[in-house]
Each structure stands twice: as C-alpha cells, then as structure tokens.
C-alpha cells in the first residue's frame, strides 16, 4: 500500500491535504479526507457516460469519427464563420484558458467564461470602489467574524466552514467559541444549524438587500438611528448587534454568493455593498473588512486572473483584427441579439444552466463541444471533441476561491491517449496559423 498527498478539483476550495491509498497496481483503494464532491470527481474516470472518441453529427445522429476527420471539420467550421463566440473554460487549467484567449484573438472571436454570470461581475465592480482581499489562512489564524450574505456553503463547498470557522488558528486557539458567524438569507438554510450562542441568524425579507445596505451605510456613518420597527424584516435588537459587531471587531470577512448577484430594478445592491465595506474600513478603528467571492467551478477565478494578466480585462473579451476592442456585451447579450454564427463550448453545459430563451437561440447556429462526458449540450452539438479530466489525468495551474494559485497533480494517463484541453487548443491554434 502506498499513500500519496494530492490536490482535489471537486470545487473551488482546491483542498491540497487529501490522502489516497494506492494498491500495488497503482489503482485507488481509498480516498481519505475528501467530501462527497471530491470523491465523485475521482470516481468519474470510470464513468459510463465518458466520451472516448470524436463524434460528428449526420442527419440528427452523432457518429464516431477519426481525429483527423473531426479536426478537419472543426477548422472548416471556423473558417466558414466570421463572428464566433467561445464560452466555458471554468473547468480547465489556466494554461488551457490562455490558449483559448489566443485562439479567440486569431479568429476574431468573442470569449467569455462562467464568471460573467457569477463573480466576474463583483471583480469588475470592485475596480470602481476598491476592495480588500484576504486569504483563507488569514481567516483561520486571525478571523473574528464571518458573514455569509446570500451564500450557502454547506451545499456548494462542504469543507469551507470546517476550515475557516471550526479550526483553531495560531491567534484564535479557542476556535469555534471565539469566532462569530452571521448569516443573512431569506430562507432558513442548513447554515443556521451550526449556530452557537454568540452567532446572529438574520432572516431578511426576499429581494430587500438593497434597502438593508442603504440603511446600514447611513447608520455606520451615524447619520441615522436604527428605526424601532426594524428594516427589511429584521428587528431592532438584531440590527444593533449586527452594527456593533461590524464597527467594533478586528477582522471581518464577508462571503458573497449567488443571492447577492441578482439584478434589481431600483439600483445596484452589489455596488452598494462594496461601498458599505469602504465606509466600514474608514469607520472601524481597530481592524478591516475583506471579501471572498464564492463560486462553484474549480477554476472560475483562474479565468479572471489569466484574462486580466493577458489583456487587462477580466471577462467578455471581443477581438477584431487581432486586437481587443471595447464592448458593452457579455455572452448573454450576444446570444440574445443573435450576434454570432458559431459557438465553441469548452467544459460546461449551457443548455442546462442558461434560461430557455437563451438556449433556444444558441442551438440555431453550429456548435463545437470540447468536454470529457455527456451532458445536455452533447445532444445538440454538431462536433464533439473529447479531452482528459483536468486535475486527475493531466496537471496544470488553478486558482482557489481566495485567488491563491495551486498546482494540480496528475494521477493516471488518460484512456485512448486523449489530449488535454491545452494540447487540443494548441493543435487547433497551430493549424490555423499554417493557413
């Protein structure tokens, strides 16, 4: 029996303390320490829905094809198009994301990742207000207050609260008893079950985050008193405790989730939250407030960082004549306006996670899918190119939820000599350069 320490790519926490036990044939016997999401990621190598050869659609059915034929058809489709879009890239390594941006530049395309409908918006808004980042180790060792706003990590990132709230850091040796948890959510999620005597559960009325944030801005600057009837369904005593905790503690981390990213008619709750954090950082004399942006896919943050370092913009990159041009569009508006004639989908499932009115328009044009298993998009794509599973069958770099880069580990060789996403995109890029 051999024991190895590996990195798990089940979610954006990228746990690097997972131990696997291998038998003499080099196969996994047991996985120690990983949650159910991580265990499923490792077991997916043997999945029956894995794609092992390229496929081309003829007369509404997908037929197996050789690699040469599939690549030839792909390049033909790219050459016939003049306005292609590329989408996905949040389950691939950073090196593959860089190749994707180079491909978009070479074919005058528009490239975007899942972060454009998720935390990429927060990162872009923070350019106007400024934001303080922090790392998980800081919260483990020095954190006092953890505030979950519209975020339920127990269902999406199971080990997050284990690591930051229950651990006994160097300067917080009493662990759970000294850290305070505040949860703001309209529904009583599973995060309310781990509350202790110092914690503050707040059940807010649906769609009234903006009201609460605007009131908190005035209260923290002492321009307004807390009204006796409370705000947005929260009563006065709870609000007093919330304000006292925010203004008087040393290290506060706010974790933002999908609940805060909903668009609203009356204003911009996300921007106002970032401004509230700026105000708190000036009013609070002892400490500081920082944010962590919660997302599910394991390398969504990586695309933001790769795109920022290559082009200066973190999402929605439009290229024309091999240069980046300004645009107000993102992937949703481009599909809505039918402003594309070919789509290349890499490692994601837009037919499942985009609303019906968008997926209806996406299928009207030709589509190329690069993925390792079947999903809803597989049933409508015109060409399917299989690749290896990142983090298990190939290595690379990925960024964690707190923007720390982690090196992934390779365990096995892929079946059928499948290329990794990076190798496939390099091949396509080289062939386009030759012509």
């Amino acid at each position: 029996m051999k024991f190895k320490k590996i990195v798990c790519t089940g979610c954006s926490l990228l746990c690097d303390d997972i131990i696997i036990e291998e038998n003499d044939n080099g196969r996994i016997e047991q996985i120690i320490g990983a949650c159910v999401r991580g265990k499923e990621r490792f077991k997916s190598i043997k999945s029956q829905n894995r794609i092992l050869t390229p496929l081309i659609r003829e007369n509404d059915d997908l037929k197996e094809a050789a690699w040469d034929e599939a690549l030839k058809k792909t390049l033909q489709m790219i050459e016939d198009s003049s306005n292609p879009i590329l989408y996905g890239f949040s389950t691939t390594s950073c090196e593959a994301q860089a190749e994707g941006i180079r491909l978009a530049r070479a074919i005058d395309g528009f490239i975007d990742s899942n972060s454009t409908i998720c935390q990429g918006i927060t990162l872009e808004k923070s350019k106007e207000t400024g934001v303080t980042m922090t790392t998980l180790t800081e919260i483990i060792n020095k954190g006092d207050i953890i505030l979950l706003w519209g975020f339920n990590p127990i269902e999406s990132i199971p080990r997050l609260l284990n690591k930051i709230l229950f651990s006994r850091g160097k300067f917080r040796m009493t662990g759970r008893e000294i850290k305070t948890l505040i949860v703001i959510d309209p529904v009583e999620t599973a995060s309310y079950k781990i509350m202790g005597p110092r914690d503050i559960p707040l059940l807010i009325k649906p769609a009234s985050d903006l009201e609460l944030i605007q009131a908190l801005k005035k209260i923290c600057k002492e321009e307004m008193e807390i009204p006796s009837e409370g705000i947005a369904g929260i009563d006065k005593m709870d609000l007093e405790r919330l304000v006292a905790n925010l203004v008087d503690s040393e290290n506060i981390s706010i974790l933002i989730g999908q609940g805060m990213l909903q668009p609203s008619d009356d204003g911009d709750p996300l921007k106002e939250l970032l401004e509230l954090i700026e105000i708190l950082n000036t009013v609070n004399e002892k400490g500081r407030v920082s944010i962590i942006m919660g997302g599910g896919h394991f390398n969504m943050t990586g695309f933001d960082q790769t795109a920022l370092s290559l082009t200066g913009k973190n999402h929605s990159l439009q290229f024309k004549d091999s240069t980046l041009i300004d645009t107000e569009d993102n992937i949703i508006t481009k599909i809505e306006k039918n402003d594309f004639d070919l789509s290349i989908i890499v490692g994601t499932d837009p037919i499942s996670h985009l609303p019906l009115e968008i997926s209806k328009k996406l299928v009207t044009k030709p589509m190329i899918l690069i993925d390792n298993k079947k999903n809803s998009t597989y049933y409508v794509a015109d060409v399917v190119l299989p690749t290896a599973i990142t983090g298990v069958e190939t290595d690379g770099t990925a960024f964690r939820i707190d923007e720390v880069p982690i090196k992934l580990t390779k365990l096995y060789d892929p079946p059928n000599d499948l290329p990794s996403d990076e190798e496939l995109l390099i091949k396509i890029n080289n062939k386009i350069k030759e012509e």
Partner: protein
C-alpha cells in the same frame, strides 16, 4: 435495541439531592447520575433520595423517567447516518480528542493516515467513520467534560446521534 427516553444525564442530575454527601459508591451526584443512566446503579443506591421525605417528589419523577430501564446495562453509541453525511469533516476538526492528538486538525486540515490510536473520526470515501469509541470524552474524562456533545451539536446535516443503548445479553 431499546433507547432510553432521555440520554442527557443532566436531566437525571437535576432530580438528585446535589449535595455530594458521599454516601453512594461514585461519591458525587454528577457521577451517580451517569452511572444511573448506564444501569450500573439503581435509584435505591442513593440513601438520602429514598429515605428523606423532602425528596419524595424528585424520587417519583426519577422513577417515572427511568421506568423499566433501571438496572439494565447500557453503553455509549455514536451512530452516523450514511445517507445524510456529506463528508464536510466538521466532526473531525471540532472533536477535542482529535485536537489534542492530531495537530493538523488545528488548522482544519486532514489528519495523517494511518490514523493515530486516539483519533475518533476519519472521513473515508466521502463519509464519516468512527474509529476508536473508547477514546471519546464521555468515557475517559471526569466531571463536566463528560457531557461533551460537540460532534452532535455542530453537524450541519444532523447525521450524528449520541445515545445509550441496552447491551444485548
């Protein structure tokens, strides 16, 4: 397996004299309550409770609470519901025995494998597994520390349950 209606021995302790007079074998009321729960002593083994008329009400309530379980030997059980558990590892990090012997749980990391002989919980293949029940605080500690229930209180899916079950004879 019959499970006693209350597995919190503090409920039993509140109905005892709480004087620590020393006339019973465990010598303190706190320890007597736990031994009563586990079936190692009977209510009659507390002389003030049975003889002094001012404890008549407490005696009656105690007899009703324990009922037919008096004297039947029970032992500690920690059961984990496999379908509810999602492998989050909060029980591994928060158990005070794990924190004392496995230093990597101090920062929330996975303890070494093969496990230390004192380690109580380990996450195998995405589910929690109990390793060494005899190391639990409820068995090895003295005084108030015996009433340790942190793993049951803080499990977010309520998959852990602490109970005292009758030993099959």
């Amino acid at each position: 397996m019959i499970i006693i209606p209350t597995d919190n021995f503090m409920d039993l302790y509140k109905l005892l004299p709480q004087t620590n007079c020393g006339k019973c074998e465990p010598k303190t009321c706190m320890a007597f309550a736990l031994e009563l729960l586990k079936g190692n002593v009977k209510i009659a083994d507390c002389p003030p409770l049975s003889e002094d008329p001012k404890y008549k009400d407490k005696l009656a309530q105690l007899q009703e609470l324990i009922g037919a379980e008096e004297g039947k030997k029970k032992e500690l059980r920690i059961t984990i519901d496999d379908e509810l558990c999602d492998g989050c590892g909060i029980c591994v990090t928060i158990c005070p025995v794990n924190a004392r012997y496995c230093y990597s749980t101090l920062s929330g990391k996975v303890p070494d494998y093969p496990p230390d002989e004192h380690q109580l919980f380990v996450i195998k293949d995405g589910k929690c597994e109990l390793l060494a029940l005899d190391q639990c605080r409820r068995i090895t500690a003295q005084g108030r520390e015996r009433e340790c229930r942190v793993c049951e209180t803080y499990c977010p899916r309520e998959a852990l349950e602490i109970s005292y079950d009758i030993i099959d004879e």
